[in-house]
């Protein structure tokens, strides 16, 4: 994709900035080191926190002696769960997906029992970080072990030991969506009973770690009964509300600031235990405090993502018309419910039907407690899991029918002329053309040539086989219509807020409620406002991430910023222009109706030349010497936008994979994607978002997996063991776009943050399978490590668990039944 340049720029048709690859404003500080990461902050008298964390997955705390730590040099205080038992409340879970969902409560610091490795047990407050850290080892704790629950399929059985002994089972909730009951589809059981062909599969969505590059960090400064919190968070607004509710600090006494934030990917969409603990300690001591995690703490205690076992059945006739879809999920909650832990798999419920016209659909999900760190949002949150399952099962169905998988898809997908289309899950898809995106992607890849090469390698029995395969996907973005969120029992709305302040010198401040952490809001919002107000791009400053400046907002996640937040900016700008028009009319002694507004200037129709610029109006109304009677002297405006529908980006991704059948090594030979993200504000930023999403989605397919051993220790707790891809591990991406504007917002933007991550995982796995299917392989569990691929080729099955005897991830025998967990219950190798 190349920059879109608008070659024509005339006075009558000012050059639009929207659509241009403007370089980013925010880079100036990021490339020079002039950054404001939370951990950079120092305040006079600031104290440093370190956290003693549980080394065991499930145990009662029988003895806790902190005196050794208290005696350490430069240690001011040590707190345990007992010190905060009365005031710490429970970390919030904002998404009770069913009325009877069991929420065991989530203390920020353990009081009597620990439920996962890494849970906070004591907090040391030191004059320096080193002093606080040194004292961690001087605390004496005895743990009485309790049975450790790790494997979801075991955990839901009758008689399983419990994660929380005050609950009656390890099942938090049972969520059902049945299209028949909802009136959006037929009877699923009947569809399966009548079907000529059914295919059933079990897929494992391994546990992943968001692994944002900036470790989490929190600073809290008390001032009387006011508190200011800086946090490396995606959600300063939500954090403020929630922290106020949890701690009892009145909301208007709490200001939350997200300064420069180094990535999030859903991982910083959280109200973290340590954020609450920093507030509690700062309140107790009346001193500013800071906590910054180490990478090991981050991997062990920041929430994880994915971790589902998916049972999926598809029904069709012999001609390949899909008749029904049935999904049953086990979703690992971990030990507690955090902010939207239960909602992530439930959100996926609506995306399993993908881009297909399926007459009947039923979805069931059990949220299951285990003694692991909680799961929650990670790039895509529910939608990658759904997309993976549907795109994999479509291929399996094609194999079963002896049909070309692309042909099967064409037969079942929604055609361009059928939009808007209401799916069996009840969503109304806005716009798109799946065929066009697919055709473009095939071209971009050089499909025919690669297929010919595949054939040659097959025939010559080349040890390195080639596979080429697809993912044709859609996702729901632009979270979200508030009423829909309400109907799903989500604890908040999905609107977004913007305000525009016209300064006397003509400069413009845009305040947005959507807080960026790498997405380039400052640039994109400036482009939008420059177009709307006709002011120079350089004259626009975008303010965000501070609840005292941007008082209303719902923050950044779910590819919502541009779609919802950007639209709020447009609406606010429209109001500014409307207000300025009255004043301009007054100044020009003309009727408002006779004014036209182009290029930032109001002029009387038919008399070009004379006129007044909106920036001059800003000065005039600041002076306020001469303005119409009966209006307030300001042209500032604000707007809140609540979308009426989600937006539905879609695309076709094609991966060509080389699989070395002798070593099991897989390599991406070529990757092409064509995405429809609606109207594009900045193609450079869109392309960057695609690249980053692709990297993460491909990495799920090939590299990443959080593994717990049989005792519940995270064995992938450093960057040595948890494999983030480097530049050498990833291919060049060929990306392209089709544009079908969204219909739910005036800009037509659909959202791009998650697309690459959602689409790429099944494309990579499907392609690897295409390379070795003729060798009898029909599934390989993610990530496709050489070991697994080799075992699948040479031993059958799906390659089994990664934790094998002799590796540090080995914890007894391996199981074939659960994601990333080794238990003694099952045999080595994990072949099904």
């Amino acid at each position: 994709m190349t920059a879109v340049e608008d070659p024509t720029s005339t006075a009558s048709a000012p050059e639009k900035l929207v659509g241009q690859a403007r370089l980013r404003k925010e880079d100036a500080r990021l490339i020079t080191g002039d950054t404001t990461w939370t951990d950079n902050m120092t305040l006079p008298g600031m104290l440093h926190l370190s956290v003693l964390r549980s080394p065991v997955a499930h145990a009662r705390i029988t003895h806790l002696d902190v005196s050794g730590a208290l005696d350490s040099p430069n240690v001011l205080a040590v707190f345990t769960g007992r010190d905060f038992a009365e005031e710490q409340g429970s970390l919030p879970c904002a998404w009770p997906v069913t009325p009877d969902m069991v929420n065991p409560g989530h203390p920020s610091i353990a009081v009597e029992e620990v439920n996962h490795v890494g849970e906070a047990v004591a907090i040391i407050v030191g004059r320096t970080k080193v002093a606080a850290q040194d004292a961690v080892e001087k605390i004496d704790v005895d743990y009485e072990p309790l049975p450790v629950v790790l494997d979801m399929e075991e955990a839901v059985k009758d008689g399983s030991p419990l994660v929380h002994d005050h609950t009656s089972s390890n099942t938090s909730y049972h969520f059902v969506f049945d299209a028949g009951d909802a009136g959006t589809g037929g009877d699923t059981e009947q569809a399966f009973a009548d079907a000529e062909v059914t295919v059933s599969r079990r897929f494992v969505q391994q546990r992943l770690i968001p692994a944002f590059m900036e470790p989490r960090s929190v600073v809290v400064q008390p001032s009387g009964d006011n508190y200011t919190m800086w946090s490396a968070t995606q959600i300063p607004h939500i954090l403020r509300v929630m922290a106020a509710m949890v701690t009892g600090i009145p909301e208007h006494k709490l200001r939350v600031i997200a300064p420069d934030v180094g990535g999030g990917f859903g991982g910083k969409l959280q109200v973290n235990p340590e954020e609450i603990l920093c507030l509690l300690v700062a309140r107790r001591l009346g001193k500013p405090v800071k906590w910054t995690e180490t990478r090991s703490e981050s991997l062990m205690t920041a929430h994880h993502g994915r971790d589902q076992v998916q049972f999926i059945d598809i029904a069709a006739d012999r001609e390949g018309n899909v008749k029904g879809l049935r999904v049953r999920l086990l979703a690992d909650m971990g030990a507690y419910l955090r902010l939207i832990t239960p909602g992530v798999p439930a959100l996926g419920a609506f995306m399993f039907p993908g881009i297909y016209k399926i007459p009947a659909y039923r979805f069931e999900c059990d949220g299951v407690f285990t003694n692991k760190v909680p799961t929650d949002a990670y790039r895509g949150a529910g939608r990658p899991e759904a997309t993976f399952a549907i795109e994999r099962i479509m291929d399996e169905l094609a194999v079963e029918l002896g049909m070309d998988p692309l042909e099967l898809r064409r037969k079942n997908w929604i055609n361009a002329e059928e939009f808007p289309f209401t799916t069996v899950a009840g969503l109304q898809y806005d716009s798109g053309d799946y065929g066009k995106a697919t055709d473009q992607a095939l071209q971009l890849l050089g499909y025919d040539e690669l297929r010919a090469e595949q054939q040659r390698r097959r025939e010559s029995n080349d040890p390195v086989q080639l596979g080429i395969w697809f993912s044709t996907f859609t996702e729901m973005c632009g979270l979200a219509p508030s009423r829909v969120l309400g109907s799903l029992a989500f604890g908040a709305g999905g609107w977004e807020q913007a305000s525009i302040r016209m300064l006397p010198t003509g400069k413009v401040e845009v305040v947005t409620g959507s807080t960026p952490h790498g997405q380039g809001h400052e640039t994109a919002w400036s482009q939008i406002v420059a177009d709307e107000l006709g002011v120079p791009f350089e004259d626009v400053e975008v303010l965000h991430g501070d609840t005292a400046i941007s008082s209303r907002g719902l923050d950044t996640y779910g590819s919502r910023s541009l779609v919802v937040g950007g639209t709020a900016v447009v609406k606010a700008a429209e109001k500014v222009v409307a207000k300025a028009r009255r004043i301009a009319a007054h100044l020009l002694e003309a009727s408002e109706d006779d004014l036209e507004f182009t290029g930032g200037k109001f002029s009387v129709k038919g008399t070009p030349g004379a006129g007044v610029g909106i920036q001059e109006v800003a000065l005039a109304i600041f002076a306020a010497h001469d303005y119409p009677e009966g209006i307030e002297p300001t042209i500032d405006a604000e707007a809140t936008f609540d979308p009426v529908n989600f937006s539905f980006p879609h695309g076709t991704h094609i991966s060509a994979m080389e699989v070395d059948t002798e070593t099991g090594f897989v390599k991406i030979r070529k990757y092409a994607s064509v995405d429809d993200v609606g109207t594009i504000v900045n193609p450079m930023i869109v392309e960057g978002q695609m690249h980053g999403g692709l990297a993460q989605g491909i990495s799920q397919a090939l590299y990443e997996e959080a593994i717990y051993d049989a005792d519940g220790n995270l064995t992938t707790g450093t960057f040595v063991d948890y494999l983030l891809p480097s530049a050498a591990d990833l291919p060049h991406f060929d990306t392209g776009n089709t544009v079908h504007p969204a219909t739910s917002n005036p800009m037509g933007a659909k959202g791009v943050g998650e697309a690459g991550c959602i689409a790429s995982t099944p494309a990579v796995v499907n392609a690897a399978l295409d390379a070795v299917r003729h060798l009898g392989v029909s599934d390989i569990r993610m990530p496709l490590t050489p070991e697994r691929v080799w075992r699948a080729i040479h031993g059958g099955g799906d390659g089994g668990d990664r934790a094998t005897a002799g590796t540090n991830a080995y914890g007894g025998a391996s199981t074939e039944t659960s994601s990333g967990v080794s238990t003694e219950a099952s045999s080595l190798g994990g072949d099904k």
Binding site: L23, G33, W37, G518, F719, S726, A727
Partner: protein, 186 residues
């Protein structure tokens, strides 16, 4: 790298060693605990917070600086080992207001998103181009293997390094050297 007393030799010694180090052109003299890592000395003692910490196992490269002209992960070097050396950080590579070609190229090629990996990535890339003035795509990818980025998927970083390499060879794109202000306004 200038040799310094091995930290273990100091373990029993309560004496706090003094170091002299030149950082981004300024000389500093400080008493440092022997176990202090260079990155912590830079951030906490000198306030050079442009250099960041991304991990505790020397895997991420976010902390990369130049020690006597060579890229090092400053979390793998003790501050005492930098005694007598010159350290350059991300804050010291621009020539006054004029950005280093590598900084400019990261901006122009959109080689960063959140920017957390960027200081280390830029410092590592400058070193790479010093060794390989005209690196291929593959050589860039191998050369920055020790620096992790979670945002960009690396493709634009590779482009940025190649563009900067061209400019540093004198085969630049012809675009004028960027200044801080120009970037802010671009």
């Amino acid at each position: 790298m200038t040799a310094a007393a091995h930290p273990c030799n100091e373990a029993e010694d309560t004496h706090v060693p003094q170091i002299n180090v030149r950082v981004d052109g300024t000389s500093y003299t400080d008493d440092v605990e022997p176990r202090t890592l260079l990155v912590h000395y830079l951030r906490e003692t000198l306030g050079k917070v442009g250099t960041v910490v991304g991990c505790d196992t020397s895997n991420c490269g976010a902390c990369t600086v130049h020690l006597d002209g060579e890229a090092v992960k400053s979390c793998t070097v003790l501050a005492v080992q930098a005694d007598g050396s010159a350290v350059t950080t991300i804050e010291g590579i621009a020539d006054g207001k004029t950005l280093h070609p590598m900084q400019k190229a990261f901006h122009e090629m959109h080689g960063l998103q959140c920017g957390f990996c960027t200081p280390g990535m830029i410092m590592a890339s400058i070193d790479l181009v010093g060794d390989i003035p005209e690196p291929s795509d593959h050589e860039v990818r191998e050369g920055i293997e020790g620096n992790l980025c979670r945002c960009t998927g690396y493709q634009n970083i590779v482009k940025a390094v190649q563009q900067a390499a061209a400019e540093m060879r004198g085969a630049g794109t012809g675009s004028a050297p960027a200044t801080h202000e120009a970037v802010a306004q671009a």
